[in-house]
Each structure stands twice: as structure tokens, then as C-alpha cells.
Symmetry: C2
Subunit: 218 residues, 2 copies
Amino acid sequence: MNQKPKIAVILSGSGVYDGAEIHESIMTMYAIVEQGGEYQLFAPDIEQHHVINHLTGEQMKETRNVLIEAARIARGNIKPLSELSMKNFDALMLPGGFGVAKNLSDFAFKGPDCEVLPELNKIISDAVKEGKPIGALCISPAIVAKVLEGVKVTIGQDKATAEAIEIMGGVHENTKHGEVSIDKEFKVATTPCYMLDATIKDIADGAINVTKAVFRLI
Amino acid sequence: MNQKPKIAVILSGSGVYDGAEIHESIMTMYAIVEQGGEYQLFAPDIEQHHVINHLTGEQMKETRNVLIEAARIARGNIKPLSELSMKNFDALMLPGGFGVAKNLSDFAFKGPDCEVLPELNKIISDAVKEGKPIGALCISPAIVAKVLEGVKVTIGQDKATAEAIEIMGGVHENTKHGEVSIDKEFKVATTPCYMLDATIKDIADGAINVTKAVFRLI
């Protein structure tokens, strides 16, 4: 690779319980730049499934927009997911957080019977068609497995989620902190992050290792 | 130091334009753990000055609470600022963001005539009385200068902010990315971060360097 790898990163809001997991999002962005790449952030222009008070865990009586909230992580530099074409990028990366399972899909509510947001479904399929690798952290590998039948991924050690992945036709590999599962055929690299009990340093290690794997697959 | 240094980190919301700058907050937390320390997050239980749509830069017709929004960065593990006693910590750290100048003080509106939130004013003064170092990033050094008359700090190169610091009785030192200004008498270490045009890697470098300086001052 002579040019800087260009990575599309998809956010699902801002905050672990109703949006993108912030530590994983920031560490993914950092890992891409630290490894010599550059990123463009994207998020769908849709309402969040709900808004959670992150202090109490209770639902708040308000509505928020996924793109507008993700813009907090992006410092305003973010585009609607509808503008993402994998033709313009070398790889796709998906940080985790409940937003992946509540906003980008309904995996949090329907498990293996979930649907993935149609525009994201197409982007993931397009990435594979064009031979562009996909890196996914935390719970994101579950929706990658929903779209790509037969893909091998990891979400760490959680049995219920691993079973859901197998029901959707995926293959689950158990991993520990910072470890990366790689499917060479689909060019998919995954790592558990906060699907395990983790410190912020574990998240940095996982994000850096999965980004290195994605760069090698380009 | 035989034990892990315990650092109190103060957040001012979640999002650069109306709260804590997220990249600086996460990189401060990461730097503390990566350097062998541990952190506890705090934020004041008050309404934000306002809510900014981070996509458009426009004000939104809603209200948000600084502690509840900061809990997004904290994954729920955060305490009200009223519970922070510097007796229980080895050092204090303040990431930046407009929340510092809009929620923790009114520096964004009144410049050198600003007031710092009384409970934070006391915490900063207590830290100095007890010989506990203070690390401040981005715009936070301005409010440290308001509280500690005569302290030497940096906010990078911005002339208007540097002048405001001098009017408040501080001494401003120009710095570039990742550089740290140290006042050994007050035990205050500061670095510019997003007060300069920066990448997320510059922010990581600044956070790591200022954290190293704080740890040496303990």
C-alpha cells in the first residue's frame, strides 16, 4: 500500500446503552490514524430506538437522532450512512455498543431473528463483493454474521450471543482480551472488547489489534 | 510510588461544543491506566448551559444534565462533583471541551471576568494546599489560571486566550502538539490538545505526555 488506507467507520449514536460505545469508537479512530490510515465517520440519519440515562440505566422521555448524537464523537465531521459507497474506501469498521443492536439492527430485541438496517446490510455485502475487509468490535460481529452467512467471528465468550451467531449460520470462535478472530475468505476481523469485562487499556489493545488485522487484509 | 496513583478526572458533559471534549476525555482515561494509575470520574450535577447540535452547530431546544451526559463517557461509572475530596486522590485532571468554559465556568462568555463553579474552585485550591498535582488539557488551563493566581500554563498558541490568562494573573507559555508546560511551584502540568488544529493521534500524545508529567509531580 502506497497511499494511506481509507477506512469507513460506522457509528450508532453516542453512549454504550443506546448508541455507539464511546471508548471503542475513539480507540478505533485512534488505531486507524496511529497505523498510518485515515477514517471517515458515518451514521444513519434515523431516530434512536430510545434514550437511556447512563447514570441510572432508566429510559428517558425524549428522542434523539443517531447521526446528530454520533456527531458528538465526530466533532461534527460525520456523514449520513446513505452517502457511504464502499467503492470509495479500502475497508469498513464497526465499533460496538447497544446502538449496533438497537439502532443499526434489532438484535437486542429479536436475537437471531433480527433485521439489519437495509442500507447497512447492502454496505456490508458490497464490502465483501469488492474484496474490502471488515473489522468489527464487541457486539458488531453479530450483525456481520447476520448479513454474511457462514462467516467466522468472535464476540468473546458470551454463550447466548455465540449461540445466536451459530443459529444465524455463523461460526463463533472464543477469544480473550485483545485477541482477533480472522475469516480470510470473507476478509472479516473481529475482537470482543466490552463483550468481556474490560479496562480502557483492553479496549485500546483490541482496537489496535483488529485494525492491524484489517490493514493486513487490504 | 508503591501503590497505583489514584486520579480524579472531572468531566463537563459529553461533546466538544457543549460538554467535555470526548477524544481528550477518553485519551486522559487511557493515559492514566496505560501509565499504571487508576481514575475516578466526576461531573457536576447541574444543567448544561445549552445543548448544541454537533452536526449543524446550532442550539437545540432541549435541556441536558452535565452529570447524566458525562455518564455516557463513563459507562455509568461516575460520581457527582460534590463527592470529590482531594484527600482521597493523588492528583486531579481536567480534559477540555467547551463544557469547561460553559458549564464548569462562564469563561466562554465573560473571558477573564469569568467565575469558576464554586465547588470546582475549592477542589482546585484544595489540590494545591495538599500538594496534589493538577493536569489540564485544551481550554481547562484557563480556569486553573483563574483560580490559581500567578500560575504558569499553556493553551497552545491562541493569542486571545493567552491574553485572557495573563489578565487573570497567569503566565502563558506557547507550546506545540504534545508539549507540556509545567509549573513546579503549583504542581500544574498543561497541554494544548484541540486548542491547536490536531489529529486524534496528537490528542493521544498530549494526554500521555501531560499524564506522565502529573505522575512525576506526585
